[in-house]
């Protein structure tokens, strides 16, 4: 174990440990480096958030864990340790056993993510039959319990519905029900509230939090909405350009932000009272076809130093359970040499 992985010690505290994960995509324009060495630890029974702009690699991370990447993608390095075994070393068949049972996943845009030609009951049945070998009757009983757990009224009727007959909020609840159906140890949520009305968003988040705690699962919540993270997550990782730039408890990241990008993000989301202007981070995301040699954020950074374009910073601990990848980092933006 090198210095950047694990929280100074107890690997047993982490259900999932990602070390130096690298993912590349082959496109006709060239090789895209979607992930350039990510480290991530998910503490048991806690909700960890993963935030960042579109294209920073958060969804790729989630799919890499599940090994659901498209054919054009290749995992070119790293380890994903889940309860002590490396998921990347598992065969496809072994992963099929893990998905849905030990690791569950819920997706954005639930209505599109449910099969339009099969009823809710049927889709749950496929899942339950696969992992728990339930027959029709048993599956129906269990499905009813699940629908009630996600607070869908009139569950008996809803089972026979097709996804297009349900509202978006209900579809998302069904997704959650499916994700948790087999009591997985880990639940990954990929932008579950993006695109939902704010009121529905709140309901779904509340439900998500409650159920995760009730079921005793660990959760990874991926989103670009920092407000969502603030409400729900215990831990937070911020990604940029295929790298993890900061990681720690949510409180640490909001109160004692260390990375310039995180600072920028927060300022964009939460305007202080005195600010009139909307804050933005100037510049654009770097092209992942040819990732920069040095720090990935350096071009847009306000506090960059001479070494920043040359050498990429690695994650260092600035406080217990708080790591940053930045040479200039320190509490309250004080530069360090």
């Amino acid at each position: 174990m090198n210095e950047t992985s694990g929280f100074a010690g107890q690997a047993g505290e982490s259900l999932l440990s990602i070390a130096d994960l690298r993912v590349v995509f082959q496109t006709f324009l060239g090789t895209v480096h979607a992930l350039s060495g990510i480290d991530l630890d998910l503490r048991r029974s806690k909700i960890t958030g993963l935030a960042g702009e579109t294209g920073c690699g958060k969804s790729v991370t989630a799919k890499a864990i599940m090994r659901l990447l498209p054919h054009t993608a290749r995992i070119s390095g790293g380890r994903v340790m889940f309860t002590g075994v490396d998921l990347l070393a598992k065969t496809d068949k072994e992963m099929e056993d893990i998905r849905g049972k030990d690791i569950g996943m819920i997706f954005q845009n639930a209505r599109a993510a449910l099969n339009p030609l099969f009823t809710v009951e049927k889709q749950l049945f496929f899942l339950l039959r696969r992992h728990e070998r339930l027959n029709r009757a048993q599956a129906r009983k269990r499905s009813l319990e699940l629908l009630e757990a996600v607070r869908i009224g009139g569950a008996r009727r809803r089972l026979k519905c097709y996804p297009f007959e349900l509202s978006t909020g209900m579809c998302q609840r069904v997704m959650i029900a499916m994700g948790l159906a087999c009591h997985p140890k880990l639940l990954i949520a990929d932008e579950p509230t993006t695109g939902l009305d704010v009121t529905i968003q709140a309901q779904v988040l509340e439900l998500f939090k409650t159920l995760v705690y009730e079921f005793g699962s660990t959760a990874l919540l991926i989103t670009h909405d920092l407000g969502v993270i603030g409400e729900t997550c215990d831990y937070l990782g911020v990604m940029y350009g295929g790298k993890m730039v900061e990681f720690g408890t949510t409180e640490d990241l909001i109160e004692r932000t260390a990375h310039p990008y995180t600072q920028g993000l927060l300022r964009c989301s939460f305007a202080g009272e005195k600010d009139d202007a909307i804050h933005y981070i100037r510049g654009t995301v770097p092209s992942l076809l040819s990732p920069p040699k040095g720090c990935v954020f350096e071009a847009r950074c306000d506090v960059r130093g001479p070494s920043c374009p040359e050498v990429g910073p690695s994650m260092v601990e600035v406080a217990p359970e708080h790591r940053v990848a930045c040479f200039r980092a320190g509490g309250s933006g004080t530069p360090q040499e």
Partner: protein, 313 residues
């Protein structure tokens, strides 16, 4: 203290000097989609090599039809019984047929005829069909229903049967083949344009045009119709190949272009008798060219579809 001030100066200097675009990291690198039509062509080519090959092949056949006759000394219609049914050789690249005519020459001249037929038929069908579809879509539901049912009746016939019936009624000739092709192809364009217009009718720019005071006809022909044409171009390029196939089938059956004019399908039927006794070349080469032509037009059409409909990329 001193350190802090230096830092601030540096930041200020950097901030002042650079703009968003000049920094190399700020622009999209390697994006061929911008940067002029040459780059666009490269982009399309890399995505769709087959389509470009198809286009080039098509171009080759067109050229062959246009300037091919310059390269051959034989006559396409004068028979020469002394050289009947000769296999391919140095003097007759594709051999001769039962009447002694050089097949290579006839294939070239037939290219002209087939291309002529296909081009005119497709253009006419596209124009007539587009207007038909546009009128049907724009001027009210009742008219739309009636016009569409009428098209339904036309499309209920298998196209070849409809073509045969009309060709049989009008009499076999080149002109009538074009008429048949137009009749058979119009419904498809009509539907295409109609659905585009039905979709565009709800667009804001139509309301805007109406508010400014444009009459319905003007809106239709100046605004809606031009915007509905991109699927027509795609369909037309696919259609050209199919039209040649249909014209060749009609001529093969004897209901299209008549002897002694060379036409690919007609040549195949003339060569069929030879083929059964082993002289394969008189029927083989014309058919091969039909295949090449249709294949290239399909490849090109598919490629155009990729270009025009980004969802398929």
């Amino acid at each position: 203290m001193r350190i802090l001030r230096r830092r601030k100066d540096q930041v200020a200097a950097v901030r002042g000097s650079e703009t968003v675009d000049s920094h190399p990291q700020e622009t999209d690198s390697g994006d061929d989609r911008r940067g002029g039509s040459w780059h666009f062509f490269i982009y399309v080519f890399r995505r769709n090599k087959l389509a470009v090959i198809g286009g080039l092949c098509l171009l080759f056949i067109v050229l062959m039809g246009l300037i091919g006759p310059l390269f051959t000394a034989y006559s396409p219609t004068k028979s020469d019984m002394k050289s009947a049914s000769l296999p391919p050789s140095a003097t007759h690249w594709m051999g001769t047929d039962a009447m002694g005519m050089d097949i290579f020459t006839r294939v070239i001249y037939a290219a002209r005829i087939d291309l002529y037929i296909a081009a005119i038929a497709v253009v006419l069908a596209a124009v007539i069909g587009s207007v038909y579809g546009a009128i049907s879509a724009f001027y009210g539901k009742v008219l739309d229903e009636v016009m569409m049912r009428f098209l339904d009746s036309f499309q209920a016939f298998p196209s070849i049967l409809l073509g045969l019936a009309i060709a049989a009624a009008l009499g076999p000739s080149l002109r009538n083949v074009i008429i048949v092709l137009v009749v058979v192809n119009v419904p498809m364009y009509a539907r295409l344009v109609r659905s585009q217009i039905l979709y565009l009718r709800e667009a804001p720019f139509v309301d805007a045009a109406r508010m400014v005071g444009n009459s319905n006809t003007r809106i239709m022909f100046r605004h809606l119709l031009p915007n509905s044409l991109s699927p027509v171009y795609v369909q037309a390029s696919l259609n050209v190949g199919w039209s040649v196939l249909m014209a060749a089938s009609l001529s093969f059956l004897g209901l299209g272009v008549q002897a002694p004019e060379p036409e690919w399908g007609l040549m195949v039927s003339q060569g069929a008798r030879q083929m059964v006794v082993g002289d394969w070349w008189s029927a083989f080469f014309p058919g091969l060219f039909i295949l090449l032509f249709v294949l290239s037009s399909n490849l090109l059409g598919d490629g155009l579809q990729d270009v025009f409909d980004p969802r398929r990329r």
